[in-house]
Symmetry: C2
Subunit: 202 residues, 2 copies
DNA sequence: GTCTATAGCCAGATAGAC
DNA sequence: GTCTATCTGGCTATAGAC
């Protein structure tokens, strides 16, 4: 019985378009450099109209960050349903996906300690909930993979978790893409290799 | 014959203090968030005086970036003189040092594709020269370590080089430090382990 | 809810006295 | 070369008509 009027659907579609623009601009320029004027121009509406949907630039960015987390959560749930692969394979699949998203120019960078965005996100319950949910689900795979000896047992699980988050925004991807020597697929396989296998020789 | 007047020495000392402040603020907040007013306040001089030494915010930041490169070059030269260690050990020593600098709050983050800073740096000959010099010297060690089988021969050398640069600014360090569970030394050893050895189990 | 227009603020950079 | 005071422009956010 979800009485959703046509009007509401249009509204949601517009908000979705806004969040998509924010997401792309966030990935491209970062929160501090991105301006609300750019977002408005990109969506094709007036800036004042944006503020009818979102009350601040921070909330705009938070919506984009939440959607990214929702996307990765959806992927995780899908992978959970496909129980064929081992824990470490599931983790690699997630890492591969985040790298694809980054190469597609749709992965906002991690909110650094400094960023003005960080403070706003830390008080955003929805964002924190999603972040915790992703962390929990990945944490289960991480400990399972360690138990199975697929991941180094000597590493504290949070080190592995943080590393996976960081690799999703790894600047090495951008540097290699700028170099133009490798295809996107090759870049991703190289980074997965260095992330899980390290730089060292066998 | 280095006729350096006392006045010049005072000048150099002041500029060095400025660059130190910029370096710290750059590491703490990033180029976009850092303001010239903050720098002036931190140094203890008027903003207008800053502009007598450096003509723009970008040049201010470039001076700090160049000094970091000079510091790492000095380290490399010292390590070259100490020929006891293998190539991969030299690389690890450099990586360890950059991580120490980062934990000390003195490592500016890599200028991202987006950053307003990147454009300015790409036209700064001194910066580019230093960057190339560091890259060349590290490149020699990288290929030597690959030849010796200490680093994975299948990895293109530039992938290893970029990875070392990226690990110098790895946000994982900050996340682990914020967690408060590990000492600085432990954090560095964990990251060196995941960087060279990977996340995988043996 | 959409727009145009503008308020209010703060940043980078400069003028000009000393 | 140092300072105080100011210019200029761009940004977030809002007012108010439709």
């Amino acid at each position: 019985m979800p009485k959703v009027s046509f009007r509401d659907q249009v509204l949601r579609a517009r908000e979705d378009a806004i969040v998509s623009s924010v997401n792309r601009l966030l990935a491209e320029k970062g929160f501090d450099v991105m301006t609300v004027d750019e977002v408005a121009a990109d969506v094709g509406i007036a800036k004042a109209s944006l503020y009818k949907h979102f009350t601040s630039k921070e909330e705009l960015a938070a919506a984009a960050m939440i959607r990214v987390l929702d996307r990765v959560l959806a992927l995780i749930v899908t992978l959970e349903a496909t129980t064929k692969a081992s824990a470490v394979e599931q983790l690699k699949a997630v890492a591969r996906w985040t790298m694809q998203v980054q190469l597609a120019g749709e992965m906002p960078s991690l909110p650094a300690q400094n960023s003005a965005l960080r403070g706003a996100l830390m008080t955003n319950k929805i964002y924190l909930d999603r972040l915790m949910e992703v962390s929990d689900k990945l944490g289960i795979w991480i400990t399972a993979a360690q138990k199975a000896g697929q991941l180094n047992r000597k590493l504290p699980p949070e080190v592995i978790l943080y590393t996976l988050f960081a690799r999703a925004c790894d600047p090495v991807l951008g540097l290699l893409k700028a170099g133009g020597q490798h295809s996107d697929e090759a870049i991703i396989e190289l980074l997965l290799s260095t992330c899980f296998g390290g730089l060292g020789g066998r």
